[in-house]
């Protein structure tokens, strides 16, 4: 597609429920990132994929968070047993290149998660 697509745009979950957030990156983009953005804050890095390999997951806040990109294209961020502090906008971004002086990230519009 023309841009990064995320779904759902809005998700309301009861505390303890599991959620799955989907990201369709720009076609051909090697790199894919997940960020978490709390209200009034900048995006915080969660994890990075190069093709299907998850090379950096240092930003995942707990083992309740899991991300995958099995075929090197679409990615899913899963949050198990959601807590209120998980409420945030989850942004997906993709980038064409994977090394050296690499270019910019292209972001989707985000998935806003509200945990009640």
């Amino acid at each position: 597609g023309a841009g990064v697509s995320q779904s759902p745009r809005y998700k309301v979950a009861k505390r303890g429920q599991d959620v799955a957030l989907r990201c369709d990156p720009i076609s051909g983009h090697v790199s894919l990132f997940w960020y978490q953005q709390a209200l009034g804050q900048g995006p915080e890095f969660l994890t990075y994929f190069q093709n299907e390999a998850q090379l950096d997951k240092s930003g995942l806040p707990s083992d309740r968070f899991f991300a995958e990109r099995p075929e090197g294209s679409v990615s899913t961020l899963k949050i198990q047993r959601t807590q209120q502090e998980d409420s945030a906008v989850y942004l997906c971004a993709s980038s064409l290149s994977a090394g050296g002086l690499t270019g910019e990230l292209f972001f989707g519009e985000g998935s806003r998660l509200t945990v009640l």
Partner: protein, 111 residues
């Protein structure tokens, strides 16, 4: 660990009143400093990438500059449609592709 500090947190300008936004950074081996614009309810939109001190880039009323410790986003004769949050981010040589963001400067341009 890479760090980005932006100031001011919020800025209110009259239409046509030029100003600058500041981004201070510490990074191990800069591999790119990025400026993004974010409108409410939207994802960040890419504006500029700067790679080395002394580099400058321009787009319409915006001009980004870079030193070894700071970047500035200069806004000349702003219009109400320039109202948005402007995010600064850096990529360092440590780790893989991680890009670290500041909290942003929320700009409001009053007609």
């Amino acid at each position: 660990e890479d760090q980005v500090t932006q100031s001011p947190e919020a800025l209110r300008l009259q239409e046509g009143e030029s100003s600058s936004l500041n981004c201070s950074y510490t990074v191990s081996g800069l591999r790119g400093l990025f400026w993004y614009r974010q409108d409410p309810g939207k994802g960040p939109e890419f504006l500029f990438t700067l790679y080395s001190a002394g580099e400058e880039k321009e787009k319409e009323r915006l001009k980004a500059t870079l030193t070894k410790k700071e970047s500035f986003l200069h806004i000349t004769a702003p219009k109400p449609e320039d109202s948005a949050t402007y995010l600064c981010a850096v990529r360092g040589s440590g780790g893989y592709q991680k890009v670290t963001f500041g909290i942003g400067t929320k700009l409001q341009v009053i007609p």
